[in-house]
Subunit: 208 residues, 4 copies
Amino acid sequence: MFDVTRYAEAAQSLIEAGRFLYANGWSPATSSNYSARIDEQHVAITVSGRHKGQLGAGDIMVVDLTGKPVQSNTRSSAETLLHTVLYEQFPDIGVVLHTHSVNATVLSRALAGEGRLELRDYELQKAFPGVGTHESTLSIPIFENTQDIEALSRETRQWFAEHPDQPGYLIRGHGLYTWGKTMADCLRHVEAFEFLFACELEMMKVIR
Amino acid sequence: MFDVTRYAEAAQSLIEAGRFLYANGWSPATSSNYSARIDEQHVAITVSGRHKGQLGAGDIMVVDLTGKPVQSNTRSSAETLLHTVLYEQFPDIGVVLHTHSVNATVLSRALAGEGRLELRDYELQKAFPGVGTHESTLSIPIFENTQDIEALSRETRQWFAEHPDQPGYLIRGHGLYTWGKTMADCLRHVEAFEFLFACELEMMKVIR
Amino acid sequence: MFDVTRYAEAAQSLIEAGRFLYANGWSPATSSNYSARIDEQHVAITVSGRHKGQLGAGDIMVVDLTGKPVQSNTRSSAETLLHTVLYEQFPDIGVVLHTHSVNATVLSRALAGEGRLELRDYELQKAFPGVGTHESTLSIPIFENTQDIEALSRETRQWFAEHPDQPGYLIRGHGLYTWGKTMADCLRHVEAFEFLFACELEMMKVIR
Amino acid sequence: MFDVTRYAEAAQSLIEAGRFLYANGWSPATSSNYSARIDEQHVAITVSGRHKGQLGAGDIMVVDLTGKPVQSNTRSSAETLLHTVLYEQFPDIGVVLHTHSVNATVLSRALAGEGRLELRDYELQKAFPGVGTHESTLSIPIFENTQDIEALSRETRQWFAEHPDQPGYLIRGHGLYTWGKTMADCLRHVEAFEFLFACELEMMKVIR
């Protein structure tokens, strides 16, 4: 049993995040899914297929860390396991956001055949925890898109067991997953990633 | 005779859609036209030449399925037949939106000589009804632009008789037509198409 | 002597146009200038160097058709003559808007050495008066930029004596001039031009 | 000791500037820092790491011209010395804004190996003080990014001792510094620089 006040606060933070992310064009056409931890065993997560700029209380449900609905009669996002595997792996994170921007989609496809995006020499890398200089390298894995979410969740678990400090990943032609201790941290990560994706795409256009 | 409450609701949904579509830059300079079904014989549709971000009650009229005004003393969009032919062909659709974005215009011209735009490997294809995987192919016909709307309406009717599951089409240098059961469905289709058009154009810039 | 109510209405329309044009990014950093006709001899015009998104009553003054201030103790835009020459030449126009967008600036420079921008096969050309089909050609002259506004005003006067039906012109590296009978007409022209400029620039990027 | 009313007014101007700059996408993910002069010895400046679109009274502190906190128990931006060196060097400036846009980042990196960005033939150059014609040249130095802010502050001091009339500089992969007598002047400079950076990047894409 989870604390209902903590559930309500988590749900409210997801509703407000949705308005922000949709307004930025990062969650169009009912794409994306968001979650926030309630306690060690429970996560508030968006119901499948809802308009992310118009989320209401009825669009947030509760799952346990195996992805099963708890006191909820609706269907959570098809990608629920990609969220819960992160909460299991990283006990100190409180929020996971999956967004779906044009830039993340195009950049991950433009890097076809490459398994990661490497970012360096950007001052904005310092927006991520533990990064103190633009001279470090941020290494973002790009997983192939699949409708087999269970397989992908195992793949991400294995990668992040080996690279626990990297703050996010891309799914090719699909979007970004990133996480943080608080909603403010996680939204900062989304903003920083979107900034860096935009820079990388622009660089491809002007550098030949 | 149509039910006035259903007319008023259809008109209201078009007025609100106009504000949204104009704010996104998809209906500039009095371009575009929108319609919503009232009943089996009647359709609410925008009056010709009105500002789509400032639609009021007087900017919506009623036509029958042959495109003739009903209890309306104004001139409907020159493209009215492109709407009514869809309502005839697909009895379960309730809304048709024609938008006019930079990306739809440029993409349809950049594909000069090609009769269709083929989209695959985008997760967002799942925003369209009946699409369960990014591995399917979305095939969007591109019709040549013409001021002979009656001829174009016959052309679209024939194409969609053969491809009833495709959710929209482009007119070259002109814009997008898409439809749905409800306004929410149809707006989701516009958003998804605009996202995919943006991705395709960006891909053209970075892939050589 | 001019009618003060017509002055006040003209000023109000310029103030509101400024908010719209600035919000669209078409009048940044105190660039641009706008005018509206009061009567056959008088024009309301923006005072030099004001923030176009924050215009107030004190930022609009009156000039006669030779560009001299009337009952106004401030300095009108350095480009006042480019406005007044149009009111002299076209007795039926009521508004002149000069905007200053990235796309107009870049497109006019990218066409270095060319004296005009020719637009065809765009459905949106129909946003201009007298254009009934995308098959017509819109021919937009591009004048070289200069700080000698009197010389430029003569140059524009001569060009439009020969091409009275074209709805606007570009100054290279500088921006757009367009006009219309009413403010709504003129704003539609700005929107249509900006749409077409964006399309042309995007076409340059994807067509090789 | 500084006058508290002047402190409060400076802080308020920074809070409002932050909302504007963040909304334009020029200060994402807690990047950027802003300052405003209180008097000859004191400067109000943003506290390190705060959300620039959500600044409140507690996010602004006071430093002296050596960068030391005054009556403030928080840590000012790591780049505080880049601000104070400008106030020392230019007694008539009242505001320094450091922003962090995609365009400034990409342009400064695309010009790898070049020590400056030269701008000419843009009418908008006239947005800067003392510039009366598009025929002048605006020369913007690009400093290499570093985490050694003290060294960079000396480097900027030396450059601007030799070029006192240039209104800003870039740090590669990092962003823009610009200043002005008033907040309105400085915001105009940011807008003008961002416009010019956008133009330069677009030119790189369409000119080959």
